[in-house]
């Protein structure tokens, strides 16, 4: 990758990232939203987290692997019991490492 290629890439992507991050918030901030819009916005978090989890756990282009699913179940149990992000992250890495490296 040449320096000029990198600079073009950097400028274009930074512009898109900042636009995606800032425009909706600044445009909607302080406005009275209709109940329908508020209701739809309230559905974004569970939808987004489920999408991110599925994106991380499932890759149809690769052979099925049960290790991440088992590790995810372990994290799920810890999450429901403790609600702690740190314990979940440690459990996830530990169980996934155990399943892939040791077993």
């Amino acid at each position: 990758m040449t320096t000029s290629d990198f600079l073009v890439f950097y400028a274009c992507v930074l512009l898109v990232i900042l636009a995606c991050r800032c425009i909706p918030l600044l445009a909607l901030k302080g406005r009275e939203l209709s109940p329908r819009v508020s209701d739809a916005l309230g559905l974004i978090p569970p939808a987004a987290f489920a999408a991110l989890v599925a994106n991380d756990l499932f890759d149809p282009s690769k052979a099925f692997s049960w290790e991440p699913l088992v590790a995810a179940v372990a994290v799920l149990l810890v999450a429901r019991r403790t609600g702690s992000l740190i314990w979940c992250a440690l459990t996830g890495m530990g169980s996934y490492a155990l399943l892939t490296l040791v077993l």
Binding site: L25, I44, P46, N55, A71, A89, G92
Partner: protein, 235 residues
């Protein structure tokens, strides 16, 4: 901002994200060094892009010689999910000044979105300043970890899949700790199925955005929240 009412809650919210970013930021920096970025460039790139998925994708595409316009399109598409986060957070920033709101918005990531949303809905004292502090602390840990990875370079053999599972675990926790009303479950399942189908169709770069939209539409079609009783979702 006193320690008890200001700094401590911010640290408590930011720490899990910061630790996760250190574990995944170092291998990201290692890949950036392979592309030719210096530690300073890795730091600046990470502090401005502040996108794990985007930066990993940048390095992997550059290493196989992808044309620059294809790289721009791919990384931009991956970043479009930020549109949803930005919209979802807007009600909580109603009272913030425009510069602070812009700084907050510019530093939102998947993880800080979840952490701040949880705090905004559960803690009446949580405000734009604290939320922005969480974002900035997380950002610096990410940028420093990337710079460290670029310094260490390819000499460090890190199992990236294991490290990145810290982030997956954070998403699972943020999802699992919500109240599981029928509508939330349908929304989450539809979203996950949407992502799997889209990835199977080769649309991986926009799978998260479109999958999440599928989930939101499924939730809307199931009917308004009031039918199940208000309050089970905090937002």
């Amino acid at each position: 901002m006193s320690v008890r009412t200001g700094v401590a809650p911010v640290l408590s919210a930011a720490l899990p994200v910061m630790l996760g970013y250190v574990t995944i930021g170092i291998p990201c920096g290692v890949m950036e060094a392979e592309v030719g970025l210096s530690p300073l460039m890795a730091f600046l790139l990470s502090a401005s892009f502040y996108s794990g998925a985007g930066q990993f994708m940048m390095s992997s595409l550059a290493l196989v010689g992808t044309p620059v316009l294809s790289m721009v399109a791919s990384v931009s598409l991956v970043s479009t999910r930020q549109l949803l986060y930005s919209a979802a957070l807007s009600p909580y920033l109603a009272g913030a000044s425009r510069p602070l709101a812009a700084l907050f918005a510019a530093t939102v990531t998947d993880e800080s979105f979840g952490v701040n949303l949880e705090r905004f809905s559960a803690d009446d004292s949580w405000n734009a300043t604290k939320a922005t502090a969480v974002n900035l602390m997380s950002m610096f840990s990410w940028a420093l970890a990337n710079a460290l990875g670029a310094i260490v370079g390819p000499a460090l053999a890190i199992p990236t899949a294991i490290m990145s599972f810290a982030m997956t675990s954070i998403f699972i926790c943020l999802l699992a700790c919500r109240e599981w009303a029928r509508r939330t479950v349908v929304c989450a399942v539809a979203s996950a199925l949407g992502v799997i189908v889209l990835k199977a169709l080769g649309l991986g770069s926009i799978a998260v955005l479109l999958g999440a939209l599928v989930g939101v539409v499924a939730g809307i079609l199931l009917g308004p929240r009031s039918r199940e009783g208000a309050g089970h979702d905090h937002e």
